[in-house]
Subunit: 140 residues, 2 copies
DNA sequence: AATAGGTAATTAATATATTACTAATATCAA
DNA sequence: TTGATATTAGTAATATATTAATTACCTATT
């Protein structure tokens, strides 16, 4: 059988862990989890979204998202409202407080990204991103 | 700021998710979680290991590993013993039952791997693995 | 021998992941 | 319009992730 270290899922996990070492301290300083930041970032990029679309974009399952949103709402970062057309749907958006947080943090996140690129190389990053995107779209 | 979808951690997550679609059904049929299988696989490859080394190889933190081992032990798949030289260390090994499970499953896992390669291409997989391994070794 | 400092594993507390299930609403065919 | 079916969000239960704190043991120094 394939060697243990030659498992693609394991290497994807390790690569992600190594990458997050560049960003985690910054998030941690601001009392944000990875997932919370992912949600804030998606909402900032798309203004507002239904819960389901948000989950898809953030690669989260809806029970996870429910809890994440509950805590983000408690901290005053997001608000929910029901869709007019379809009462099943919830629409999520950022508060002003969240927009301020985002604008304060985003330059630092970009700086971390820059530090990452200096260690890894921009060319390799672009190649890697291409391969990952192709892989993401694969279906069994 | 960088586009939301151009986040490397997000793409690593999505790529891993897409990859796991090829393997998860098989594990699920056998009532194993990803993490449990990762631990079994590492122990099969290295015969026995201290808890700390096992955690490192599997990319798990020790509190997670504690719970995973507890459940694997309850199901009769692993056994623990204290190290003779250093009473702080625990040495983990597979039971016969686990070795049998592993030998029964590994051909099916390899078959899933083959199915994956047919959809993604072996050449790309090798290139991707190289880039991931290099990334894994990166330090901030 | 006694103590200070370090390490390995675990526990505690909280956040998230995963699967199964439920409640409410929407859609569509009969 | 009703009744079967599908969809969305959420709940419940269990497994794992994460950080902090604890316990037991080791090591070196005094």
């Amino acid at each position: 059988m394939r060697k243990f270290e030659d498992s693609l899922p394991l290497q994807l996990l390790k690569a992600r862990e190594a990458t997050m070492l560049f960003f985690r301290p910054l998030l941690h300083e601001n009392s944000l989890t990875e997932q919370q930041w992912r949600v804030l970032r998606a909402l900032y990029a798309y203004n507002e979204m239904e819960s389901k679309e948000l989950a898809n974009r953030c690669c989260l399952l809806s029970p996870s998202l429910t809890g994440i949103l509950k805590r983000l709402q408690q901290q005053g970062y997001v608000q929910r409202r029901k869709s007019e057309e379809d009462q099943r749907r919830t629409i999520i958006s950022l508060t002003d407080k969240a927009n301020e947080l985002f604008q304060r943090l985003s330059p630092e996140v970009e700086a971390s990204y820059k530090a990452f690129i200096e260690r890894y190389s921009e060319k390799k990053l672009n190649e890697l991103m291409e391969m990952l995107k192709e892989l993401s779209e694969l279906e069994p």
